[in-house]
């Protein structure tokens, strides 16, 4: 064994306190990265029913974890180097040249990197298997036996990625050693740091950005614009958190120090001045912990809510189990709907054939068309329209509306009821009291808060709903758009909504029902005289059974990603806390001893330092809690956009996530505090 290798091994053993977390960090991150990377590239998983969302979500995971990995590995590396500066200085003084130190360092890096990568791959392979089982469970599909997809194709890129980061860290270390003078390396004695000063600009900027971040989060009204604002708010809150941790805490502590009666008391004096210095060194680390914690909480609480709320979202989205509308083109190229009566017959036949009982078939007639909308006037002239003003309007007769909702509107003549189904960033929430279509004014006599035709698509265009008094009016409006748009005009939609007697039974034979209905529709149109075979037929079949798979696969993938990223963030948090405890331990040891010599009992000293440490570590958790509270309205709107409107569920998920996180946090604190007291004693 060469001297360098022996020294490297010895150093790792001697500095196990720093090296073990470093190796564990690499192993943990590699494991997580391996899992997302393999899931992202796993061809077989894509073929699983509902597995199609997985790669896209996993790709997000690959990018995010790669970024976190780079940051965290360089952080642990710089921490390790900082703690060992004195050691390197000693080598220099003892006659080792810098290149020799670099050689020792090389062996150390190599050993710890290989250990980390090997451990990480084992960890990754084991947990990969578990994750596939978990994912199959989430997606609601049967587990595929022998579901193992581990090959060099997956392992090599992951291992190479981590080794490159290790190599980069090593090069950084060599550079920093090359520029260091031995005297500087040796001078690790505590020279005393300046008392931190309050930087007013940072303080004001911090308050402003945090305040505006919170303000945006609380006041955003429109769920669609919430997506854009969400990122703005996140960035503002992040900046605010960093700035306020850096200066806000110091500002408060300094103000406390100025109040003599408060400051000069046994309880406060050591705590206030101790915290003042602690905050200076730890502000950035604590702010990072706070942001990571907030990230974990947001990710897990939203993904859990979505997954848990999937059933309810389905129920809400599917009051009936099946929706169908179908179109074909006639010989003149005009688009026509298959009449609702025909569709009803087809649905009834298919149900009978598959042994299902239909409770009710609702027939919906409405016109679904688009206009450029300006101050209540629906403009059909394309040359005058601007894409940004386009709105989609559903027109429906009072009779149909009553059938669907059970509500009587009692409209007459040109009176209408109006509903903003979905406002958008482009079209303002229309507040006028009439709309004009084709030169006729229609008076809005009633505003509706919801409309029985839901848009299943998230659209950037606004959707309005209009209820007219009778079919004559509907025909008049239809005539306007048919004339203007010609072959591009929307046909009057004839749609059926089928409610089966037994929801579950319907889902069980759902695919067969869909098939039968498709065949029946083709038979119908082919029997028609003016059916234009060149254009064929198309239909929109929206069923509970297809949506069920879609929802569980989408939100299942989402949840898995949330949990995995949450795990990585938690891991990062634990690591930062651990290193912080250790570096603080070395600094506090001195203070501990002085205080005891001057006449504080061991108990008093422990209480004083313990309370400071406690405050420092629980501040991020408390602030993360506050962030979550302010983020809540915004997150709620985002979830609304995804059709989850069960606020109670979201509250419960958030609270439980927070409590679990706090528990884990306390556990991490407890474990790391032990190593802290070991150093201090």
């Amino acid at each position: 064994m060469s001297l360098y290798l022996r020294m490297a091994l010895q150093n790792i053993k001697k500095n196990a306190r720093f090296f073990i977390p470093r190796i564990l960090t690499e192993a943990g991150l590699l494991g997580c990265y391996f899992i997302v990377y393999t899931l992202y590239r796993d061809e077989r998983l894509r073929q699983v029913r509902g597995g199609s969302y997985l790669p896209a979500f996993m790709f997000i995971g690959v990018v995010v974890i790669a970024l976190l990995t780079i940051i965290l590995m360089l952080y642990t590396n710089s921490f390790l180097m900082k703690q060992r500066k004195r050691e390197f200085g000693l080598y220099n003084v003892l006659g080792m040249e810098k290149r020799h130190v670099a050689k020792v360092l090389f062996h150390e890096s190599l050993i710890s990197a290989l250990a980390g990568v090997a451990a990480g791959l084992v960890f990754g392979c084991v947990f990969y298997k578990l994750s596939t089982l978990f994912i199959c469970r989430l997606l609601g599909v049967e587990t595929i036996l022998g579901f193992y997809y581990i090959s060099a194709k997956m392992i090599v890129p992951v291992a190479v990625f981590f080794l490159i980061i290790d190599a980069f860290a090593y090069v950084c270390n060599c550079i920093s050693i090359a520029f260091m003078k031995p005297v500087e390396l040796m001078a690790s004695a505590h020279t005393g740091e300046k008392e931190p000063k309050v930087k007013w600009i940072t303080l004001i900027l911090g308050i402003l950005s945090l305040g505006s971040g919170y303000f945006i989060a609380v006041t955003v009204k429109n769920p669609l614009s919430a997506i854009g604002y969400f990122f703005v708010a996140v960035i503002l809150v992040m900046i605010g958190t960093y700035f306020l941790f850096i200066t806000g805490t110091i500002f408060v502590l300094k103000a406390l120090k100025k109040r003599k009666e408060y400051y000069y008391s046994p309880k406060h004096m050591t705590a206030v001045s101790g915290l003042l210095y602690r905050m200076k060194q730890n502000a950035v680390g604590l702010a990072s912990i706070c942001i990571l914690a907030t990230g974990v909480l947001v990710m897990i609480s939203t993904t859990v809510s979505l997954y848990a709320g999937a059933d309810e979202m389905l129920r809400k989205h599917f009051p009936q189990e099946l929706y169908l509308e179908a179109y074909y083109k006639d010989k003149e190229g005009m688009e026509r709907s298959i009449p609702a009566e025909v569709l009803t017959q087809i649905a009834e036949d298919a149900a009978a054939k598959n042994g299902l009982e239909i409770r009710e078939v609702l027939q919906q007639y409405y016109l679904d068309t688009s206009f450029a909308f300006k101050d209540g006037v629906c403009i059909v002239d394309r040359s005058r329209s601007n894409m940004m003003d386009v709105v989609t309007i559903y027109f429906m007769t009072e009779e149909v509306y009553e059938k669907l909702t059970g509500e009587k509107l009692k409209l007459s003549g040109n009176d209408i009821a109006f509903c903003v189904v979905n406002a958008s960033s482009s079209a303002e929430n229309y507040k006028g009291d009439l709309i004009n279509v084709g030169g006729t004014d229609y008076n809005i006599v009633k505003k509706l808060s919801s409309f029985p035709v839901e848009s299943s698509m998230i659209s950037v265009f606004a959707h309005y709903g209009v209820v007219v008094s009778d079919e004559a009016v509907l025909d008049r409006i239809n005539a306007v758009q048919t004339e203007a748009y010609g072959n591009y005009a929307s046909p009057l939609t004839e749609r059926i909504a089928v409610k089966y007697a037994d929801r579950q039974a319907a889902c069980a034979v759902g695919d067969a029902v869909s098939d039968d209905m498709e065949k029946a529709m083709y038979r119908y149109v082919e029997s028609l005289e003016d059916y234009n075979e060149d254009y064929g037929m198309h239909y929109f079949l929206d069923t509970l059974w297809v949506a069920e798979v879609d929802y569980s696969s989408m939100y299942g993938s989402f949840l898995f990603l949330g949990i995995l990223l949450g795990f990585v963030c938690l891991f990062a948090t634990a690591l930062i806390i651990y290193y912080k405890q250790i570096s603080e331990g070395y600094e506090d040891r001195n203070r501990y001893q002085i205080m005891q010599k001057i006449g504080m009992s061991q108990k008093e000293v422990k209480a004083s330092i313990g309370s400071q440490v406690l405050m420092v570590f629980f501040l991020p958790l408390v602030v993360a809690g506050i962030h979550i509270c302010f983020a809540f309205p915004l997150l709620k709107k985002l979830l609304n956009l995804l059709l989850l409107s069960n606020t109670a569920l979201f509250v419960i998920c958030t609270v439980i996530t927070f409590l679990v996180f706090a528990l884990v946090y306390v556990m991490i604190y407890g474990v790391t505090a032990k190593s802290y007291y070991k150093i201090v004693r």
């Binding site: 005393g192 000069y264 010599k597 006449g599």
Partner: protein, 254 residues
Amino acid sequence: MTILDVKELKKTYTGRFGGNKVQALKNVSFTVEEGEYVAIMGESGSGKTTLLNILAALDKPTGGSVILDGKDLSEVKDAALASFRRENLGFVFQEFNLMDTFSLKDNILLPLVLSGKKVSEMEEKIKPIAESLGIADILGKFPYEVSGGQKQRAAAARALITDPKLILADEPTGALDSQSSADLLRVFEKMNKAGQTILMVTHSTDAASHAKRVLFIRDGVVFHQIYRGEATNEELYQKISDTLTMLRRGGEIR
């Protein structure tokens, strides 16, 4: 009046598993009268530090007793030990032991704060002490901003501020240059003239020559002592160095 009475003090350190016994103090007895200024000299390993730790109630003797102002240290309960130390003893250390997070003023006030004194009372007390030690102008500064001599004077002020019965100084000039050492020793003399009892452990002949009495410790026993009498500092210095030469030769002094 006797302030400190040390009787047949013994301290034995036992290695792990009971082996390797080291007798740091074999049998040390001496007394310190009120208003005295005593220096204890001895080489490294003579038991000086052990003695000081026991006097400061930081360590417990294996035998014998220490009586401070009529109170046996072994009878003070552990819980009350910290406050006992705070109220009766003042410390000056070689390495200053100032808290780097406190200004000099806060460092000096720390013992009073721990005793729960009022702010007005503290402010009143610190003024004359700071002025007599020549650090009134730099009270607002932090330890890293001032020189070693100033640090040590601040530490002395911290020791004085509780009006202790006894000041224990452990190599107070050990980390100072000669000019600062001379300044500090003058401060100690001034403190002693004002009636403060001081016990100083040192191996600097110069520092010891400022005391009124010098005790020599070797191999865990009080080996010899010199009283100043009417001698000047220079004469005492000569006597001490003669004694040290003799000690080093291993001679016996009768």
